[in-house]
């Protein structure tokens, strides 16, 4: 089951970024292994505290849940912080100049693509593919500075921009100027010069009756006159197109024989049955809206036309295709890639690799925002109001959750709507708010024991994940806990069942003060975000550079960090990420073996010298960053599941049967 979740996560990641599937799995496996080691170690300490009747299983789940929250916190805060403060100084840029006007550097692009294709296509085709793709990117980019748009368009419409040809050697793959539509002309009339194009989305020949209407025939004569009218009208429209000098008719539907005949007589080439994807591509390239049939066939100025430089049949592997030289109105200069290979499977492999490469480039050339907040207003102020709502449930808590407070807490969160849920999502997705301990202390100080009954686990969560360096918070609150206990005694005493519960209760009590703080803080919600980003086109050399850097800085961070949880998470991640370069260098020996490389890199880092990479090739930092966040999200997904219910029946059919029987 875990595997299925993993596969689903990997494929969704791949769909978005087109890169890193293997790293994803390796990293995730190492993370899980790291986690298991940690929990195995700690097991003993649990056991003797776990005298109560609560099952081991639930206990573990609590723990996993706990850890997953810690990972989330890491992903949303520490990772960005480390990326921004430490790693960013090592980043290289793929652009040749760092000025405002960014120009793509061909050799760096080739290195980036070379590294990408390295793991995706056969060894003998790697160079060829990266050359081909490089050429393609440069040929398609009409305007140097707007290649992001080009990449976006190519990624979206890639299926329409490639032609697969089987039976030819791979080396025959090439770039074709213009668009290739994978069908033949219905009528082809050779024409010179610029070719005026019209797009239609309905049949030009009028029909007897349209859907939902009725046409009554009262006599044979009526039938004949209507047919005559249809013929004449069709002719008139086609003639009209010819008068407007239209030479090519692109149709999304199949046109009747009569239309084809008339078009042929009037020297108009026709291409029928364009798919909606092809149509949208053509529309994006030439910005042409479909031609609306005029109500009256009188003088009707044709406004929706575009021009093509040429329009001719193209023969690939004894099959005829339509070859259009559209005059682009956007930054994309239309070109197609003909991918040749001896077998279909290889064509598909290359197609997927190219498509992935475009996705990767698209991501690499986007600015990626990092949320690094050093000084903020308190996050919990938003959560304040909900705490009162919470109170009812939290009062019941001890009964429901004897051993799984965390779980019920989760439930509460899920049930809650409105602000609480909002806060929670904020928390999960993008909260990078770091609560400075100083402020917290202040808040704590001005709190009164009166409100302490309204405790909430939700805010406790907020506190826990809010700051990496607020290890002292709990200490600060010690006095209040005591004072609180007077009011909330019944609950607290019952909660002190297990080690974990105890901890949670403690925190909960601490949170009980928050409503007040909310008030006190409302006036001073001065937010000062320090947000940074990974600029577009950031790259690092391949060969585990990113991983080693991250490992190094995370360990450093972990050393500085006082909170035990964050230290642990950072350590786990730092060690797990090292698994990637370990595998990369597995087959290497001697000076290039992993320990050697690792030691050299560490030395370089410690002495502030540039790291030397023995491999040529670059990889996108944005891709790596996204990979990390995806893996961490997947991991939290996996960890939060406490029970897998295995249903051994076919999902659809059996379900219906059962429900009938039950009824």
């Amino acid at each position: 089951m875990v595997k299925r979740v993993m596969v689903a996560c990997v494929s969704s990641h791949l769909r978005k970024t087109g890169d890193g599937a293997k790293t994803f799995i390796i990293f995730l496996c190492h993370l899980l292994r790291g986690l298991r080691e940690i929990t195995d170690k700690e097991k003993d300490s649990f056991l003797f505290e776990n005298i109560q009747t609560c099952g081991r299983h639930w206990k573990n789940c609590c723990r996993w849940k706990f850890i997953s929250q810690a990972f989330l916190t890491f992903q949303t805060q520490i990772l960005d912080y480390v990326m921004d403060h430490y790693l960013s100084r090592h980043f290289l840029s793929i652009f040749s100049s760092c000025t405002k006007e960014r120009t793509l550097c061909r050799s760096s692009l080739e290195m980036l693509l070379g590294a990408y294709f390295c793991g995706r296509v056969g060894r003998n085709n790697q160079n060829l593919m990266s050359q081909l793709m490089c050429d393609y990117v440069f040929k398609c980019t009409a305007c140097e500075s707007r290649f992001e748009e080009v990449l976006e368009l190519v990624d979206d419409c890639f299926v329409e921009l490639k032609v697969g040809v089987t039976g030819l050697p791979v080396s025959d793959s090439r770039i074709i100027a213009g668009l290739v539509l994978q069908r033949d002309f219905s009528v082809y009339c050779p024409a010179d010069g610029d070719i005026r194009i019209v797009i239609v989305t309905e049949t030009i020949q009028p029909l007897f009756s349209i859907s939902g209407s009725e046409f009554t025939l009262n006599s044979e004569a009526q039938f004949q006159t209507s047919q005559f009218w249809i013929t004449e009208r069709t002719k008139a429209i086609v003639k009209h197109l010819q008068n407007q000098n239209v030479k090519l008719l692109l149709s999304t539907v199949k046109q009747p024989d009569l239309v084809i005949y008339c078009a042929g007589l009037n020297g108009i080439s026709v291409v029928e049955c364009l798919s909606s994807e092809e149509l949208s591509l053509i529309q994006r390239v030439i910005g042409l809206a479909p031609f609306v049939l005029p109500e009256a066939s009188s003088q009707y100025e044709l406004s929706h036309t575009a021009l093509a430089k040429f329009c001719k049949p193209l023969i690939l592997r004894s099959k005829r295709f339509v070859h259009l030289g559209l005059m682009s109105t956007c930054s994309f200069a239309p070109h197609c890639i003909a991918l040749c290979a001896p077998v279909q499977g290889l064509v598909e492999q290359h197609e997927n690799a190219l498509h992935g490469a475009f996705k990767m480039l698209r991501q690499a050339f986007k600015d990626l925002d990092l949320n690094c907040v050093t000084q903020t207003s308190d996050q919990s102020c938003t959560s304040g109001p909900c705490i009162y709502k919470n109170s009812r449930e939290s009062n019941e808590l001890p009964k429901i959750v004897n051993s799984s407070i965390q779980r019920s807490y989760q439930d509460t969160v899920v049930k809650k709507k409105g602000e609480l849920a909002k806060t929670q999502t904020n928390l999960k997705v993008c909260s990078n708010l770091i609560v400075p301990s100083v402020k917290l202390e202040q808040n704590v100080l001005c709190s009164t024991p009166k409100v302490a009954v309204t405790d909430s686990y939700q805010t406790d969560e907020t506190l826990r994940c809010s700051s990496p360096n607020k290890g002292r918070i709990m200490d600060d609150q010690e006095p209040f806990i005591e004072s609180n206990s007077a009011n909330s005694k019944p609950e607290n005493t019952r909660r002190g069942i297990s080690y974990e519960n105890l901890q949670v209760t403690k925190l909960a009590r601490k949170d009980s003060i928050l409503p007040l703080r909310y008030k006190s803080l409302e006036t001073c919600t001065s937010q000062s975000y320090y947000s940074s980003s990974i600029p577009a086109g950031c790259v690092l050399p391949v060969g585990g550079n990113f991983e080693i850097l991250l490992h190094y800085y995370l360990l450093n961070y972990a050393k500085k960090c006082q909170q035990s949880e964050q230290t642990m998470v950072s350590r786990i991640i730092a060690n797990a990420i090292l698994g990637v370069p370990k595998i990369l260098y597995k087959s290497k020996k001697g000076n290039y073996s992993f320990p050697q490389v690792y030691v050299r890199a560490l030395q370089a880092l410690q002495t502030n010298q540039p790291m030397i990479s023995n491999q040529t090739g670059l990889e996108s930092v944005a891709g790596k960053y996204q990979l990390l966040t995806s893996v961490l999200q997947c991991l939290t997904n996996i960890l939060t599941v406490d029970l897998v219910i295995n249903i051994k029946r076919q999902p659809q059919e059996v379900y219906d049967q059962d429900s009938e029987e039950e009824l």
Binding site: G122, R123, N124, T166, G167, L168, P169, V170, S171, D172, L207, F208, S209, I210, S211, G212, S213, E214, F215, T216, L217, N218, S219, E220, F223, Q224, Q227, F228, T231, E232, P256, D257, L258, V259, I260, Y261, C262, G264, L265, R317, S318, A341, P342, V343, Q344, G345, L346, Q650, E653
Partner: protein, 570 residues
Amino acid sequence: MSRLEAKKPSICRSDPLTGERARASLAALKGLVMSCYGPAGRLKQLHNGRGGSVVTTSQSAALLAGLPVSHPVLKVLTAAVRNHVACFSDGGLFTAILCCNLVENVQRLGLAPTTVIKLNKHLLSLCTSYLKSEGCACRIPVDFSSTQILLSLVRSILTSKPACMLIAKEVDHISTLILRAFLLTIPENAQEHIILGKSIIVPLKGQRVIDSAVLPGILIEVSEVQLMKILPIKKSDSFKVALFCVSLSGDLSDTGEGTLLVSYGVSLENAALDQLFNLGKQLVSDHVDLVLCQKVIHPSLKQFLRTHHVIAVDRIGVSLMEPLSKVTGTWPIGSLGSISPSSYGSVKDLCIAKFGCKHFFHLIPNKTTICSLLLCNRNDTAWDELKLTCQTALHALQLTIKDPYALLGGGCTETHLVAYIRHKTRNEPESVLRDERCSQTELQLITEAFCSALESLAGSLEHDGGEILTDSKYGHFWSVQANLPSAVNWPDLPSRCGCGLYSSQEELSWSFLRSARHPFPPQTCLSREATGSADTLTLDCFTAKLSGLQVAVETASLILDLSCVIEDTN
């Protein structure tokens, strides 16, 4: 109720090439294709236990199409060969054998796939650049002013397909026909882009091969009943033709998605028929002599046309539409209403011809690039094989127009290439070793594997246990009879090399093909006199063979690169 079966897990096999099963099936396929190769190749008979016709063949196209292959590696291999054949028609067996040989030879070496693939690619580029270079001695330019080389090319293709069951005289006849059919498709006033016409192969089974013929224009087969209805054709120097692509049967065409209400007493059939008669009247008044229809013509309209001395032929089918429109110069009419006079065409003459037991309606054009190749053979299987061969030959000729070269056949290109590669890698290995980062030994081993794959390919031309020799001047292929008394001085025996370019009159030193020899530089630059002197050469299509070579090496690399096969058995 359908039975539900639990989903089986996928089968994952690592190292798909090392298993005994893989080796055995690869060897089986190799044996199969090798035994078919060349003029002396053995025929294969394909039966399907469930019925269907029996195919006797030695061509890769027919063989691989009917051959069930289960091993994933072989599936890749056969798919590659079939795709190659679909593109080039020729060189399928060549590709298959070379690919099998390469995989087998390299597999035996046990080197890392990375090195093998890199070096194979390098050797391939060595071959292709040599074959494309001016100094290439196994490639001859094709002279379109004489038929000699073209005829040799066609003849080589015909003789290499023994399942056609042709005797020498028939081979001559058919090769002349094929060449004539091809020349008829070339337009007279050739501009920058030549658009070739089409030669339509018309089947006539059960006749003697010698009865085959090439006719300009189009033959439309008509049944005897239809023939009775066709009037005697009047004498004229030009006939006006109307070609319809819409049905003339009076059925209602698309009326839209809504409903069509017809009042009681209104007969749409009559209305439609009226319309057809109006059309008929227009055709008659436009003095059309011949009406051709892709679909069906209503019997009443036919009758009407006949009474007005217009010949009507229907049910022509979509495949003949394009050639017909070209031959007659008509624009296929898609309207039952008024017909534009510009869409009529004409033919020079019409006649009814009888070939064998079949009657044909023969349209003779004024000037066009369409011709009909009436192909006869004794039985169905032989006819099928002959048809495939003719298509291959026509395709090879078309490819030759694009790239006006031919390669020496009969194994000479292969042995010559081997000599060239051996010499090149022995004498100039530095650049390779530097670029590809490999050791001298690795280069030697892989070159040897590559060369022996090519040699074994050439060697598979010999099926009767003969010995194969190669000379040390040109590096050509010489075959001698088996079981020669050792006393005879065998080097004197072969009179001509495999391609027929050189004779043994010259002072040549021979050695056995697969024996250890010292690498020698084969003589490059073909002399003009040499190609002129030999009257019949064995030639191969340049484009097809070059691409086959590339496909074979690339597919072998692909197969060698496989480390795991995952099969979904559901």
